[in-house]
């Protein structure tokens, strides 16, 4: 995942970007922006927030005082970190608009998305602690390997695996509770 059409790594492209190479910045954007957008979408539950966050991540990347340091981790990890912080700021300001699916309201995928279970799962995910939400999004929604996620989050593989198992257990429990008949819940 580190290299793209030019064969250059993210870090090489970043160095070129710092020297004013617009094509390097463009390639970096094309390579990383979609995943950052989807990550922000799942983290926030809002497409509007996801758009803003994904854009702001790259604005910060081009800023003269961008604090990315290769010695501390990969550029991709830095990008996810910035996105996470931005979503955190937005969530702190209050509940975000849950307008994720407006564009898909009238098609089959939209109907699936608007199914009770999916909506319940999305709500449950938003209520997960951040460290669990992170691994669910990266491992199960972005289909990244444990190794990759461990690198992105800066923690051991075992931690990623245990967090994922714990997160899935929490989500299953929550879904079961949400889908349970009213009389069961009232007991």
């Amino acid at each position: 995942m580190g290299t793209g059409s030019t064969g250059k790594s993210d870090e090489e492209l970043y160095r070129l970007t710092r020297k004013g190479d617009q094509s390097a910045f463009s390639e970096l954007y094309l390579r990383r922006e979609p995943a950052i957008y989807r990550y922000a979408l799942h983290m926030s539950g809002s497409s509007v927030v996801a758009e803003e966050v994904a854009n702001e991540v790259f604005v910060q990347l081009m800023a003269p005082n961008a604090h990315f340091d290769e010695r501390k981790g990969t550029l991709e990890s830095w990008l996810y970190g910035v996105a996470r912080n931005l979503v955190r700021v937005v969530r702190r300001q209050g509940p975000v608009e849950a307008a994720v699916d407006r564009a898909f309201e009238h098609d089959i995928l939209g109907e699936l998305i608007h199914g009770e279970n999916i909506e319940a799962l999305q709500r449950a995910m938003r209520d997960l602690p951040e460290r669990y939400r992170d691994v669910v999004i990266l491992c199960d929604l972005e289909e990244r390997s444990y190794e990759e996620v461990a690198g992105l989050l800066g923690c051991p593989i075992g931690t990623v695996r245990s967090r994922l198992h714990r997160a899935r257990a929490l989500l299953s429990t929550k879904l079961r509770w949400l889908n349970a008949p009213a009389e069961v819940c009232s007991r």
Binding site: V59, F104, E143, H165
Partner: protein, 221 residues
């Protein structure tokens, strides 16, 4: 094996989306709790798949080298910032510019002092100056020449258009009789009615040319 030992296997197998292996299947057939967890995990995997497809549809991975509208706006911003960065002087450049300015002021002052106009008075001119100063000698040469003490007399009259004396040049005073026309050519007024020779003393330079002239005391002028 207790059920907690099966959790990892249940989760990973459900995530893969395939059938459980024989050992897990055997355990699931015997343990209702694990079977329930297996069903929940499978359901979760199915939901995640829908969410994943949905998110991918909204923003697929790089389809080509063409930037969308947001990307184009970002590139414009990138170009604008690059231009601004190039035009913004850094502190090193500011320092260099200030140093260059100070240097220019210093050089300008130095040149200005050297080229300042100093008025030259005829009385301060000396023999031996360059030819450019020759015009000054016509009025001042005899006053400053130490070799031509005789020329300091007010009775001597400088011969017009004569070359100035050189520094250290020895002059001779020659007494001679001159025609009135010759005296007139040296700038001495003579009586036009008088036609004879006139006795005069002529200051002659080393080159033999007259520099000044005066009428002798016994002349009839």
């Amino acid at each position: 094996m207790i059920c907690t030992d099966w959790i990892a296997e249940i989760v990973e197998s459900a995530r893969r989306g395939g059938k459980p292996d024989a050992a897990l299947e055997a355990h699931l057939s015997m343990c209702a709790e694990c079977r329930e967890r297996w069903t929940a995990e499978r359901e979760l995997t199915s939901h995640f798949r829908v969410m994943r497809i949905h998110a991918q549809a909204r923003r697929p991975d790089q389809a080509g080298p063409v930037l969308d509208y947001r990307g184009q706006m970002l590139m414009r911003e990138f170009a604008r910032r690059q231009r601004a960065t190039k035009m913004t002087p850094t502190w090193q450049w500011s320092l260099a510019a200030a140093a260059a300015l100070l240097l220019a002021i210093g050089i300008g002052r130095e040149l200005g002092l050297k080229n300042r106009h100093v008025p030259v008075h005829p009385t301060t001119a000396k023999h031996g100056s360059t030819h450019g100063d020759a015009v000054l000698y016509e009025t001042a040469a005899y006053e400053t020449s130490s070799d031509a003490v005789a020329l300091s007399s007010e009775e001597f009259i400088a011969v017009p258009y004569a070359a100035p004396l050189a520094t250290g040049e020895i002059v001779r005073v020659v007494r001679t009789d001159l025609y009135p026309e010759a005296l007139a050519s040296m700038g001495i007024d003579v009586n036009p009615a008088w036609s004879g020779d006139m006795s005069a003393e002529v200051v002659v330079g080393e080159d033999g040319f007259p520099r000044a002239v005066r009428l002798a005391e016994n002349s009839q002028y």
